[in-house]
């Protein structure tokens, strides 16, 4: 399985998917077609857990601004992670700037909805 990197654009985050067990999203998320944009990432993660998950997986999410369909997609994303949480060691860091109240609240929402996941709020 190969690593996958999607470079940052004006409206989309940088996505780094590393078979060594690193999944990272950094930037803004205002894609024109959110679900289409994230399809390669979702597919990669599905394959990763199915075929060759690392001993430990670390997910770093640092999303500064995002639209509502991105927030829906992040719920789907965490659903997928949760399905694999029983058989894998997964740490999730939701990283945000202290002054970014929206990002903090989104992180709290995810923690509330995904009790089985180990989501940590990390301020920069």
């Amino acid at each position: 399985m190969e690593n996958l990197t999607i470079e940052e654009t004006k409206y989309t985050p940088k996505i780094t998917l590393d078979t060594k067990g690193i999944i990272s999203l950094v930037g803004k998320s205002y894609p024109e077609n959110t679900f289409e944009f994230y399809t390669p990432m979702m597919k990669w993660i599905e394959d990763y857990f199915e075929n060759s998950p690392a001993k430990k997986t670390v997910i770093n999410m640092e999303i500064i601004y995002f639209n509502s369909s991105s927030s829906k997609l992040f719920f789907d994303f965490f659903d997928m992670i949760e399905e694999n949480a029983d058989n894998n060691d997964i740490d999730i860091n939701w990283i945000y700037d202290e002054e970014n109240e929206s990002a903090e609240e989104a992180g709290e929402d995810f923690i509330e909805d995904f009790e089985e996941l180990n989501i940590k709020l990390v301020t920069k």
């Binding site: 639209n67 509502s68 829906k72 719920f75 109240e101 929206s102 609240e105 929402d109």
Partner: protein, 257 residues
């Protein structure tokens, strides 16, 4: 036999119930999630809107401050101006409003008109503050302030500064084409230029200057009537006389001390 048939039906229904509960649970979860996403999103959008509006105000205020500061720079070069630019601003507003410009434009002209003489900062002190009539050569130098002011402001794409550049450029043009710097006539002269021309002259004539004393009102009114359709846009002269009381009140309220 009958009993077991019943039992089977019950167990099937119970299975259905379980499935139904599972599915409805999933629906409830999805709907709850969707609601949360929507309300968070609304809240974020409102915040972003607030931020945008704050930025818009910040930009507008910055433009006003630039204009005001440049006006103050201009005034500091020349001792006699005093409240001149403030009065010209107020007069311009009345003329613009009754001419039929929309209120946002009137407000912009009011803020930009204090810049009409900004080009004078490039005129030597010896000419600018000369306590006597200019020689023809000195007058030629003095006249350059219109072009100079325009050159200072013309590069800006900001509406307020663009308005200021028009005012600086055209406030010495005359209705009949005998003004400067370009000898434009009638509506070749931008309405901002025509308005500021009248406001500027009315104020200049009614004020003491180093080279002259203030004219009395009757003399000013006579000149305005004579220059209707010559120096000044006739429609603006009519508006001036229709609103004379208001002009005199402004002059009194903002008089030089």
């Amino acid at each position: 036999m009958l009993e077991s048939h019943e039992n089977k039906l019950i167990s099937e229904i119970e299975d259905l119930q379980k499935d139904f509960v599972k599915i409805t649970d999933k629906f409830v979860k999805e709907i709850t999630r969707q609601d949360k996403i929507m309300s968070r999103s609304d809240k974020r959008q409102q915040k972003e809107y607030d931020e945008l509006m704050a930025l818009k105000i910040e930009i507008e205020e910055t433009q006003k401050e630039i204009i005001f500061t440049m006006g103050a720079v201009g005034e500091s070069r020349s001792k006699e101006t005093g409240n001149h630019v403030k009065r010209v601003a107020e007069y311009s507003y009345i003329l613009a409003k009754d001419y039929g410009l929309d209120l946002a434009e009137c407000e912009m002209l009011k803020q930009a008109s204090p810049m009409h003489d900004i080009g004078k900062i490039a005129i030597p002190d010896s000419i600018l503050n000369k306590p006597a009539r200019f020689t023809p050569e000195e007058f030629e130098v003095m006249k350059k302030h219109a072009q100079l002011g325009y050159d200072m402001l013309k590069h800006s794409q900001r509406p307020l500064l663009k308005t200021a550049s028009i005012v600086a450029y055209e406030h010495h043009e005359k209705w009949d084409g005998t003004g400067y710097p370009n000898g434009l006539s009638r509506d070749e002269i931008h309405i901002y230029g025509r308005i500021t021309a009248l406001a500027d002259v009315f104020d200049a004539l009614g004020s003491d200057r180093v080279y002259k004393e203030a004219w009395d009102d009757e003399k000013i009114f006579k000149l305005f009537r004579d220059e209707r359709g010559k120096h000044f846009d006739p429609k603006l002269i009519d508006i001036f006389f229709e609103n004379l009381d208001e002009f005199l009140m402004i002059r009194d309220r903002l008089k030089d001390i």
